[in-house]
């Protein structure tokens, strides 16, 4: 088990558990709550609530299982049994669905999910060696979880970022062109925490994962850190200058790192570094009327920022 951490806040399920203060499963309390078999704080009522939220017509099962998975991090056996009881479906069917889709896990997952791409492109670029390095570093085989419940390791077949392969994804953060020698560093950084920002200080500050609206390639670049997080890499152009720029992925933060110093109030053109399309927004800036720059938010939504350097105008549509 991990270091005995002090849960900071009481999130949902475990809140009434008398073991809360000494619980080691939830780390520092900011992690998703794992279903706790140790202390049996699971109650069928929670499952009943989840079941009641869904339409019980034939298609309902998958979304019920998804809700349970997102609540507990995996599908606890008792939860599946409770769903079977609530919905009147047989356990065999639920189990069949749960084992069919890779998104479902019947085992508790670790706090960090490490996915190594073994797709064709990554494979020829040497991802099997990367996988071996990760396995050696974590001491577990692909498909399993470390004893301390910190890391789950899985393999995936292509993440759609083949040009940047071999790809390793940790908790939604993409590491590109990974070499076996990079692995200890990545694990180190994950242990230190990829999201080392104090979210509490400013509720409006939260990280976004953005991609190009045309080619849908991720714009996130883990090689350039802005605000301690991977930056949003775009190609910019103003006057006769043409170069790269990384924006902070924290929504609300206006920090940037760029190749050239940009004078205040300059209109900058933004391009996707992958497909070179200009990232033009749909509406003028609500603050100054200049053109907006639009990018897609992973998980749904569009963010638009003003293209005039220094203008705070932005729109977020999730």
């Amino acid at each position: 088990m991990t270091k005995a951490a002090q849960p900071k806040e009481t999130l949902g399920l475990c809140s009434n558990c008398i073991h809360l203060a000494t619980c080691t499963l939830r780390g520092d309390g900011t992690q998703p709550i794992l279903f706790c078999e140790e202390h049996e704080c699971f109650t069928p009522d929670e499952i009943r609530e989840i079941v009641e939220e869904h339409d019980l017509a034939l298609g309902g099962i998958i979304s019920i299982l998804e809700s349970i998975q997102s609540k507990y991090g995996y599908l606890p056996r008792k939860a599946l049994e409770a769903v079977a009881k609530e919905t009147g479906r047989s356990l065999v069917d639920l189990y069949g669905v749960a084992t069919f889709f890779r998104a479902f896990s019947l085992e508790p997952r670790g706090r960090h999910l490490v996915s190594v791409c073994l797709g064709t492109a990554c494979h020829v670029r040497g991802s099997p060696d990367v996988l071996r390095a990760v396995e050696a570093e974590l001491g577990v085989k692909a498909g399993s979880t470390t004893q301390d419940m910190e890391f789950s390791l899985e393999t995936v077949n292509c993440l759609g970022a083949c040009a940047l392969g071999p790809i390793v994804v940790v908790d939604g953060h993409y590491f590109s062109q990974v070499k076996p020698a990079d692995v200890p560093g990545i694990v180190e950084r994950v242990r230190a925490g990829l999201n080392v920002i104090d979210v509490k200080t400013d509720q409006r500050l939260f990280p976004l994962t953005l991609s190009c609206p045309r080619c849908n390639h991720s714009l996130m670049d883990s090689r350039v850190q802005v605000d301690g997080l991977p930056g949003i890499r775009v190609t910019m152009s103003f006057g006769d200058k043409h170069g790269w720029m990384c924006l902070s992925c924290l929504y609300g933060s206006r920090n940037i790192v760029s190749e050239y110093e940009i004078p205040e109030q300059t209109l900058v053109h933004f391009f996707c570094p992958h497909c070179h399309t200009e990232l033009i927004g749909s509406v003028p800036c609500p603050e100054c009327g200049s053109a907006m720059v639009s990018m897609i938010v992973r998980g749904g939504g569009v963010v638009q920022i003003c293209s005039r350097h220094g203008c705070p105008g932005h729109l977020l549509d999730l």
Partner: protein, 225 residues
């Protein structure tokens, strides 16, 4: 009534009749493996292929799942059908050569060898047992699990099932099962259960707690103790 032609003979059948039923009604032999009367058609083994349509639009379909259509021209033993059928038998032999049912099929269709990598599966995923358990025994104790090469038959969580009524229906219908159990001697492929009137496992005290026809088999469980 629907009128169709099978191997040149006209036949009229009720709506909803499958090509397999129509062919059998006329007495044309169509081999089957995953089909069983009383269980819903499933179309897993493809052994029952027949050719429908004419000219370039002719195609192979599984007759056990294909409903009769007005004016359809069916051939149950064209060259193409026979070739496909023999190939399917070869593939079955490649995955589960111990099965008496598959061996008999091979011999009946003159398949003397198979050209693929030899494997010794204990299940061909025909789904007979799952349908038997659900549709005839109303138990739903066993089902398909996993996907792709990891697909398997069994109870949820591999636990002894509370739903199972220990009827043995699933072993009874299983084409791969007769040689599935090795009793306590893995090197002997046959446990003798099918030949003995009384399978050896019945005498063990823990018989009633176990699901011998399922993995784990009673006898093998007993051996572990």
């Amino acid at each position: 009534m629907i009128n169709l032609t099978i191997n040149g003979l006209n036949v009229s059948v009720e709506k909803g009749t499958t090509l397999l039923e129509a062919a059998h009604f006329l007495g044309f032999p169509v081999p089957t493996l995953c089909h069983m009367e009383g269980l819903s058609p499933y179309g897993a083994c493809r052994l029952c292929v027949v050719e429908i349509g004419e000219g370039p639009r002719a195609r192979l379909v599984s007759s056990c799942t294909y409903p009769a259509e007005e004016g359809l021209k069916v051939r149950t033993a064209s060259e193409r059908v026979v070739k496909a059928r023999r190939m399917i038998i070869e593939l079955l032999l490649a995955s589960c050569p111990q099965s008496k049912v598959i061996q008999d099929l091979a011999s009946a269709h003159g398949v003397m060898r198979q050209r693929f990598k030899q494997e010794y599966e204990t299940c061909i995923l025909c789904g007979l047992c799952v349908r038997m358990c659900e549709e005839q025994m109303m138990a739903k104790a066993i089902g398909f699990r996993g996907r792709g090469e990891k697909r398997s038959i069994g109870t949820p969580f591999d636990a002894v099932s509370g739903q199972c009524r220990q009827c043995g229906g699933c072993i009874y219908v299983c084409p791969a099962c007769t040689l599935r159990c090795t009793y306590t001697e893995p090197e002997k492929a046959v446990c003798g259960a099918c030949a003995n009137l009384q399978p050896p496992c019945i005498e063990k005290d823990r018989f009633h707690d176990m699901m011998c026809y399922m993995d784990p088999c009673v006898a093998c469980e007993i051996k572990k103790d």
